[in-house]
């Protein structure tokens, strides 16, 4: 059967699917399913077609969270404050860690606000396959929709935490603390993009590797906690000296947390240019994540 106008397209298809025998060169297929997708057959166009689904998942998370519980939104306010109080007492009052001359409470709250977004992104996306096995087993949509919507949903709780932080920031500024905003405040969207990208990339890599071994999942929460201590969340970068400083600087989250402080609190010993390292790291992690995820998503249902 002749299909007019598709001759060029079909030629491309034939070369791409050269391994498939019997493919009639004059037929155009919309979908070809084969045992293994090519490494670079990422189907990003398809992901774009499902953008409404990403939006609806985000909206679902939002709506169900607020419908279910009154304590939910409140928890987003209580949790960072409580954590910060504990940090202030233990690390500030007992261990007497320096805070770059900033009010200890504000210092810990700023670190906590940034870090929580990153860690929730990482932990919740790392569970993509296991947590959604039921729905993945019944219907096809690009699996990447799920981690993508998680990262966006988490922005909502981040916004609440940021609000809490800003409220305390205003209070401390009004009571005459030595803090001032710098232009690096404007880098906030970029910081969020880096954290979202890195959390998503790492989370997706972990979720792909853990389709077979669920218990590795438990290591993720633990690992993220360890990672926090390798990030200047409870101490300023300025206190880290010697060889250890390089370890901390090699952590791509260091620049993110420090630049956030530089922007909102006006003090940091970080070279803002080290953000470029974080960006590079994020791009690499995202690419690797995308490739591995794409390899795994087609057949993971058989191993879950």
């Amino acid at each position: 059967m002749p299909v007019s106008g598709n001759i060029t397209l079909c030629k491309i298809m034939t070369t791409r699917t050269a391994s498939a025998k019997k493919l009639k060169s004059n037929e155009k297929w919309d979908l070809i399913l084969r045992p293994q997708r090519g490494w670079w057959d990422l189907r990003l166009g398809e992901l774009w077609r499902y953008r409404d689904l990403v939006g609806l998942f985000v909206w679902r998370d939002f709506v169900t969270y607020y419908k279910q519980t009154i304590l939910g939104p409140l928890w987003y306010i209580i949790q960072p404050i409580l954590t910060t109080v504990v940090f202030t007492v233990i690390f500030g009052n007992i261990a007497k860690l320096p805070t770059d001359g900033l009010p200890a409470f504000l210092f810990y709250l700023s670190g906590n606000t940034v870090w929580t977004y990153y860690s929730t992104c990482l932990v919740s996306t790392s569970n993509t396959f296991a947590a959604n096995a039921a729905i993945f087993g019944k219907v096809y949509f690009p699996r990447m929709v799920i981690p993508l919507s998680i990262v966006i949903s988490n922005l909502i709780s981040f916004a609440i935490r940021l609000g809490v932080f800003l409220a305390f920031l205003l209070y401390f500024m009004a009571s005459g603390s030595a803090i001032h905003l710098t232009l690096w405040v404007l880098a906030l969207p970029a910081l969020l993009l880096i954290m979202a990208g890195m959390g998503l990339g790492l989370g997706v890599i972990i979720s792909s590797l853990t389709t077979k071994y669920r218990d590795l999942q438990q290591l993720v929460g633990f690992g993220v906690q360890l990672l926090m201590y390798a990030t200047p969340v409870i101490y300023p970068l300025s206190t880290v000296q010697g060889a250890l400083r390089w370890v901390i600087l090699a952590n791509p989250m260091t620049a993110v947390v420090e630049v956030f402080r530089l922007g909102f609190l006006g003090t940091s010993s970080v070279d803002p240019l080290s953000l470029l390292y974080s960006v590079g790291f994020t791009l690499v992690v995202m690419l690797i994540g995308l490739l591995i995820f794409n390899r795994v998503e087609a057949t993971f249902m058989d191993t879950v």
Partner: protein, 422 residues
């Protein structure tokens, strides 16, 4: 010339059996360590040990499947459990990838492997329509355009802004199917989803599936309900053990399938508690057959309907009476077959006996029927009575009737003598 919309070439799918992995890295390490020291696998179940080394053993759920589907075809996939039907649908729906071979598709596929995938209890009916539509590949604008139609079809307008967790299961399923029915794909894949919901709803679903194929779309349908298959499909593929064993007209395929079915239509009555009578003699087993060899529970018009019933009596009974009533699924008694009418008596019952009842060339309309059994002594004192002892199904097909029979129009199919007088 019909257009090929699905082409399946050398499709195979294998699953690894036995040692898929214990699911945790720690256990797999433990198992590896035990193997290294020559000890038995600590996680192998005891009854599995005899099978030797199961590692790497694979099972082929599908083996070298080849067929094409033309536009507008309504294809029914038939097979017993484990024949590979679901695996085939999963591959077509992109839930999993094939192990070997290629599947090529033209147009948009929507698959309904489950009704209401992704429904969230906290969301309202309306919100779930949007979500479920999007999960199945519709854009928000598309859903918005069809919203009224979907709500209308579901019949739950009144509760459309109520969270679906408050819905009855029937409402839930109706809403979910309504979304699915309006996906408007080029190819619709439907798994055994109609098993849920009441008869009226099932009818509505089947009609919708029929509409879809009449509109020139392609339908692939899997069901164990042979009557529904014959009604909604025109072509059938019979899978057995991962291979195609029959591909042709749906009636032929169904007939072929029924002939290989065994064990259906065989009911153990000895443990039935819901029975009455003094129990001096009791029914212990009932079997339905269409011929002396095969036990079946599905018949076409014109088949012989054979019942074989086992009886056990606890004392010597000189003479007994027996009967069975065939009742349609909407409660209409169709036949009351009484032994006495045939001059048959249960003479000298003592211990186990077996009775055969043959209704030759039965003419019952398609549908599901159940059978009540009773047994009494010569004074009509009930010894055993069981309602709904055994069920059977009459489906479309066979050689006697070539037109479609509407179960609502009659119960018994008779062929009158017709002649023209002027």
């Amino acid at each position: 010339m019909p257009k090929t919309v699905i082409s399946i070439e050398h499709l195979s799918k294998s699953y690894r059996l036995g040692v898929i992995g214990t699911g945790t890295a720690f256990r797999d390490l433990e198992r590896w360590w035990a193997k290294k020291r020559g000890q038995p696998d600590p996680y192998l179940k005891i009854d599995e040990a005899d099978h030797g080394n199961r590692e790497g053993e694979t099972i082929w759920a599908l083996r070298d499947i080849n067929f094409t589907v033309q536009q507008g075809e309504a294809l029914g996939i038939i097979g017993s459990n484990g024949a590979g039907k679901s695996t085939l649908l999963k591959i077509l729906s992109q839930v999993t990838a094939p192990t070997e071979g290629v599947v090529k598709v033209k147009g948009r596929i929507a698959s309904l492997l489950e009704v209401g995938t992704g429904f969230h209890g906290e969301l309202t009916g309306r919100e779930n329509i949007y979500l479920n539509g999007a999960i199945n590949g519709m854009s928000r604008a598309e859903v918005a355009r069809k919203l009224d139609e979907i709500v209308d079809f579901s019949g739950v307008e009144k509760y459309i802004d109520t969270p679906v967790k408050h819905y009855s299961s029937g409402m839930y399923v109706r809403l979910a199917f309504a979304v699915a029915a309006h996906l408007d794909p080029d190819i619709l894949i439907v798994d055994e989803v109609l098993a849920v919901g009441d008869a009226a709803f099932q009818k509505k679903c089947l009609e919708k599936i029929g509409d879809v194929s009449r509109e020139g779309r392609t339908v692939i349908f899997v069901s164990h309900n042979m009557a529904a298959m014959v009604n909604s499909c025109n072509r059938g593929i019979l899978l057995s053990q991962g291979k195609i064993s029959c591909d042709g007209d749906i009636r032929e395929t169904v007939t072929q399938y029924l002939s290989i079915q065994t064990a259906a239509g065989d009911v153990d009555l000895s443990k039935v508690v819901n029975r009455s009578g003094d129990g001096r003699a009791r029914f212990t087993r009932a079997v339905t057959r269409s011929d002396p060899v095969n036990v079946v529970d599905t018949f076409v018009i014109g088949d012989n309907l054979i019942f074989e019933i086992n009886i056990i009596s606890s004392e010597f009974i000189h003479s007994g009476k027996m009967g069975l009533t065939i009742i349609s699924s909407n409660g209409i008694p169709v036949y009351n077959l009484v032994a006495e009418d045939a001059g048959f008596e249960l003479i000298d019952l003592n211990g186990e006996s077996r009775v055969r009842v043959v209704l030759e060339n039965q003419k019952i309309y398609p549908g599901e029927y159940h059978v009540n059994l009773w047994m009494a002594d010569s004074d009509y004192k009930a010894m055993d009575r069981i309602a709904n002892a055994i069920k059977f199904t009459i489906i479309e097909g066979g050689t006697k009737v070539r037109r479609k029979l509407d179960p609502a129009s009659a119960v018994v199919h008779e062929v009158a003598q017709w002649s023209r007088l002027s």
